[in-house]
């Protein structure tokens, strides 16, 4: 469950300064200005604790896991599995429900391919998708939570449907009874939109999916780094998130599968480390999660991701969420005061239902020009469609400028961004 951030004690400016001391990259100068890093939605920066954990593994314990009888192999295996337990605990589930992936994109593809593999496997008939079955996504989704399902629909003959958004990008939850019907076999959606920063009404969508017996998949990429997330309490069947957005390294992410659901799933990638008995004719597979972890594993990355989870835990996700809500509020209030700026997805300004992120369209200034202008002042933002072409098209846009914060974001970072947006209007001659 997500708690209401605004009611929690938030990080003080002194706390944020202390935290920033753990992130040496934040002292970088860009174009003669101190870096204001407002692109954490794309990837977060990493604290020393994470970098040290990865380096320490390579310095002292580097070895292959789940094989070998020597001391280092045993230590590496133990640390790798401890990392799984740490990350599982961080999101309120158990270690055997966590599959390491390269990131959320791979996690979603793993799931989609495992489901289509059920088509060829008599023992997995219950998971088989056929013409007449429906897969439900939303119009808000990142391409990573859209295209794997389009492709699964193509492979199985199932139909892809979507929950649309309104003119402001907000999910049309009023339509879910029409869209999620008895034919729905799988419903997948993002916990927090990577463009709007809005926290979606998870429980309403899940309740409807449960009514019709559909599998529920949650893209938790933008929630796990910023909010307390308890996947068990949310009652989803599967969830994905990426390590690099939550202070961890690139190359590692998580696919969560509720125990019985994960166990029922056929494998996707096959090979070493995921088998019990192999003959020239066939193979038997290990139980989950090993069944989904063929080949040499991303050991140092998993260990470093666990360090990231411990780092976040030590500060407290409640306080991080409250800080995110503060960042979001300061962004919205400041952007509202600038003429010609449209903030996407702010109907009603529901501060408690947002993270520290805002995407804007500035009349008369293309996002790339705005991003270039801000970069000249050392302000790093994301420009483009943020891997959500359908959402942008629906909102009548091709590209927006996104500022996204994290636990190390200061008021000064935000204020410099706001001043930059305002000055860009003068620079590009669009002031009225």
């Amino acid at each position: 469950m997500t708690t209401t951030p605004s009611t929690q004690a938030m990080l003080s400016p002194a706390d944020v300064e202390r935290i920033r001391g753990d992130f040496p990259i934040l002292q970088t100068e860009v174009n003669g200005h101190p870096l204001a890093y407002l692109d954490s939605g794309a990837t977060s920066q990493k604290p020393l604790a994470v970098l040290d954990a990865e380096r320490d593994f390579y310095l002292r314990r580097n070895s292959a896991v789940h094989r070998g009888a020597h001391m280092l192999a045993a230590e590496a295996t133990e640390e790798f599995e401890n990392a799984r337990a740490t990350v599982a605990g961080f999101v309120g589930v158990t270690a055997d429900e966590i599959v390491w992936t390269s990131g959320a994109t791979e996690g979603l593809n793993l799931l989609a391919y495992a489901l289509s593999n059920a088509t060829f496997s008599p023992e997995h008939a219950a998971l088989r998708l056929s013409p007449g079955d429906e897969i439900v996504v939303t119009e808000q989704e990142h391409h990573a939570n859209l295209i794997p399902w389009q492709q699964l629909a193509l492979r199985t003959g199932a139909t892809l449907r979507f929950i649309p958004v309104d003119d402001d990008g907000v999910l049309r939850v009023d339509l879910i009874d029409e869209i999620i019907t008895e034919r729905a076999r799988l419903v997948t959606f993002s916990h927090v939109s990577n463009v709007l920063g809005t926290i979606n009404p998870v429980s309403e969508i899940i309740a409807r999916a449960r009514q019709v017996g559909a599998i529920v998949v949650l893209d938790a990429c933008q929630s796990v780094p910023h909010l307390p997330v308890d996947l068990r309490a949310l009652d989803v069947d599967f969830a994905v998130f990426s390590g690099h957005k939550m202070l961890g390294p690139t190359g590692v992410g998580v696919l969560y599968g509720r125990g019985p659901m994960l166990d029922a799933l056929p494998p996707f990638l096959t090979g070493g480390s995921m088998i019990t008995t192999v003959t020239m004719e066939g193979a038997e597979f290990l139980p989950a999660p090993q069944r989904f972890e063929a080949g040499t594993q991303r050991v140092s990355q998993a260990i470093a991701l666990a360090a990231a989870a411990r780092y976040l835990d030590a500060i407290g996700m409640d306080r991080i969420a409250a800080h995110g809500a503060h960042v979001g509020r300061r962004l919205l209030d400041g952007l509202d005061a600038i003429d010609g700026v449209r903030v996407i997805g702010t109907a009603g300004h529901q501060y408690d239902e947002r993270v520290g992120l805002a995407s804007i369209d500035v009349a008369g200034i293309h996002a790339h020009d705005l991003g270039q202008f801000l970069d000249d002042r050392g302000i790093a933002v994301r420009v483009g469609h943020h891997c959500t072409q359908p959402l942008h098209r629906r909102l009548g846009l091709t590209a927006t400028t996104r500022a996204s914060g994290s636990l190390y974001t200061t008021d000064d970072d935000i204020d410099r961004f706001l001043q930059g947006v305002s000055d860009a209007r003068t620079y590009f001659g669009v002031t009225s």
Binding site: G32, H368, A399
Partner: protein
């Protein structure tokens, strides 16, 4: 407060061409057309040419995008209208070479006239594709692709 480099990228002529672009017309009898899309930012252009006796008689384009892509398309249409096809191909190569030079090769003022305002782009590697969008479309029309 903006740096000299940024001011070099966004020269007044660039901003003017972006606001009031030349060549945004539909040709009656195009010899060739090309649609180009930059998938990272969504910038698009459809550019057509009318060739008459080895000379580009008319250029027309429609599109949307950033200041650099729009001004580049505008400056291109002014520059190549009335130019021989063979010389246009040379001009295109000279433009590409300068844009890819990371600020080491400047556009020749005699050849490029007002379009030398695009010189600042080559220092910004991520923006070269913006300036090239219309030129790639032109290249495809010349090659009949």
């Amino acid at each position: 407060m903006s740096s000299d480099e940024l001011n070099g990228l966004y020269q007044q002529l660039i901003l003017d061409h972006s606001k009031s672009p030349h060549g945004q017309v539909t040709l009656d009898n195009p010899t060739a057309s090309s649609h180009q899309l930059n998938p990272t930012c969504g910038d698009e252009i459809t550019l057509s040419i009318e060739v008459d006796s080895g000379t580009i008689a008319h250029v027309g384009w429609k599109g949307h995008g950033c200041t650099i892509s729009q001004s580049s398309a505008s400056l291109l249409s002014t520059l190549v209208e009335g130019r021989e096809v063979d010389d246009t191909k040379l001009l295109l190569e000279e433009f590409r070479e300068a844009m890819r030079s990371r600020g080491t090769i400047e556009l020749d003022e005699e050849r490029f006239e007002d379009a030398i305002a695009l010189n600042g782009v080559s220092r910004y590697v991520a923006r070269v594709k913006c300036a090239m969008l219309a030129w790639v479309a032109l290249e495809h029309t010349l090659e009949g692709r």
